[in-house]
Amino acid sequence: MQIYLPIAEVSVNAFLLLGLGGMVGILSGMFGVGGGFLMTPLLFFIGIPPAVAVATEANQIVASSFSGVLAHFRRRTVDLKMGTILLIGGLIGAALGLVLFNHLKSLGQVDLLVKLCYVVFLGVIGGLMFVESLNAIRKSRRPGGAPPKRRQRGWIHAMPLKMRFRTSGLYISVIPPLAVGLLVGVLSAIMGVGGGFIMVPAMIYLLGMPTKVVVGTSLFQIIFVTAFTTMLHATTNYTVDVVLAVLLLVGGVIGAQIGTVIGSKMKAEQLRILLAGLVLAVCGKLALDLLLMPSELYSLGPAGGH
């Protein structure tokens, strides 16, 4: 069934969009990532104009994250206090990121920057997670092995302004979460994603939060940051396509529910190694695009540059 999208001005198969939304929604629920880093390139691939894809994706992430976070609220795996601090950093970061983005757009080459950002961040994070979770699995399999050390005490614990985060069982300074939120906010504005795939590992490895709490807390923060970006896109570029968003989110919210159930039944190490594999696969695809000669050297854009 073909549907004509009023803002994107293309006609696409509705079931294809529902399917894509569902698939990405499952991943979103499982890993606590918004799924934007997967969905946005997929939307380019089926012919949605990039500006519309990025803006609409932000709107869809609001829906899937909201659906996902409700499930986590019921299981009490959302650290509201931590989420709020990450959010404060995130909103400031998103505003900064937008300024940076517009500055780079005026210099040209913003596409390249976005792609390089993807390759570098996905590559580093995916690689680190993959190695770490592989080690964790190996350790847990070794019979009679020492239980893994809970948390290292390092420079993060030497910072001032300490606060107790009861849900996460942490007593740390607010500076690292603020900084993580800020960084993710900047990156999400530049890369047009929720930033969960960066925040989740940062929360696990930098802040030392338990994996189960990380997912819900990340989703909580993402809702607000992506809602903010949706409004920015809707009012400045007019590129949010609500019909596209509805189709994606119907699939997405259902997928997110299924994903949350799957995620709660899997071991944390397995969850992380799967996410790492996924991140590395997307990274590899984008890196190949940059390295191999494209089949079409020319690209068309509206005059005036978007």
Binding site: M1, Q2, I3, Y4, P6, I7, E9, V10, S11, G47, N59, Q60, V62, A63, S64, S65, F66, S67, G68, L70, A71, R74, G108, Q109, D111, L112, A227, T230, M231, H233, A234, T235, Y238, V240, V242, V243, A245, V246, L249, V250, V253, I254, A256, Q257, D289, L290, L291, L292, M293, P294, E296, L297, Y298, S299, L300, G301, P302, A303, G304, G305
Partner: protein
């Protein structure tokens, strides 16, 4: 007196030309002069048919050929070319093509170059490459012509540009018909349909009309809202997202609770 004679001379020049132009005229029919883009729009076929009205017998010599072109609204396009720098492919040179139609289809009753000569094509801007206007390319850029060709190639791949030779059926040099297939990825605007009658590569008569391509209903409403009330539109999008998220969550809980 001299003025008068020169005027008479001018008139003598003009009159045969204009009578020749009106000797054969197009009487046109369109299966539709309005394309409504609805929610389930997936392209449209427009049947363009007509007859040739003439007061005199069919002229001898070259047979009558018919060329039909349909073109969408034109807009400037920025074309970028990738180049390999430091091992990765990046956008390097760019050329602004001043005016390129969003859609362009040409149908002819014979191979294109038999139907019309190059000079006539240049004058009436019928072939695809003539319909695109590109001036002012930077002198430092090599092969600037390739940028305009890239526009044609990319849009032809998207089925937006096409040339269909031998697809206009002409009966007895009097009746003609063709079908123009418009793809689903149309943009709005006034599309112009032009019909050229040619003999021996020369245009003997032209006719022009417009086809109105417009979003209607829900599509129209959403598009207008997004442009005129962006804040309301944005909030509405967010509200839908939140509601859908909550709805799915509640539905699943009910499902698992039973």
């Amino acid at each position: 007196m001299r003025v008068l004679t020169s005027l008479a001379f001018l008139a003598a020049l003009i009159v045969p030309a204009s009578t020749q132009a009106t000797e054969e005229q197009v009487v046109l029919g369109l299966s539709r002069d309005r394309v409504a883009i609805t929610a389930n729009f997936d392209g449209s076929d427009i049947l363009i048919f007509g007859a040739i009205k003439r007061e005199t017998p069919i002229p001898d010599g070259d047979p009558l050929q018919v060329i039909v072109s349909v073109s969408g609204p034109s807009a400037p396009v920025l074309v970028r070319r990738k180049e390999k720098k430091l091992g990765i492919w990046v956008n390097a040179d760019s050329v602004l093509v001043d005016s390129a139609p969003s859609f362009y289809a040409v149908a002819t009753s014979s191979p294109f170059h038999e139907a019309i000569s190059d000079t006539e094509d240049l004058r009436h801007k019928i072939s695809i490459k003539r319909a695109i206007r590109s001036v002012g390319a930077d002198m430092n850029i090599q092969n600037a012509q390739e940028f305009a060709e890239a526009v044609v190639r990319i849009r032809a791949n998207e089925r937006l540009y096409s040339i269909r030779e031998n697809t206009v059926a002409v009966d007895e040099q009097t009746l003609f018909r063709t079908e123009i297939d418009m793809p689903a990825n149309l943009t709005e605007g006034n599309y112009s349909a032009r019909i050229f009658l040619t003999r021996g590569g020369k245009v003997v008569s032209t006719y022009q009309t417009t086809i109105d391509v417009q979003k209607v209903g829900l599509e129209r409403f959403l598009f207008n809202l997004s442009r005129q009330q962006p804040i309301v539109y944005g909030l509405m999008s967010l509200a839908i997202a939140i509601a859908a998220g909550w709805g799915a969550s509640a539905a699943f809980r009910a499902l698992r609770g039973t």
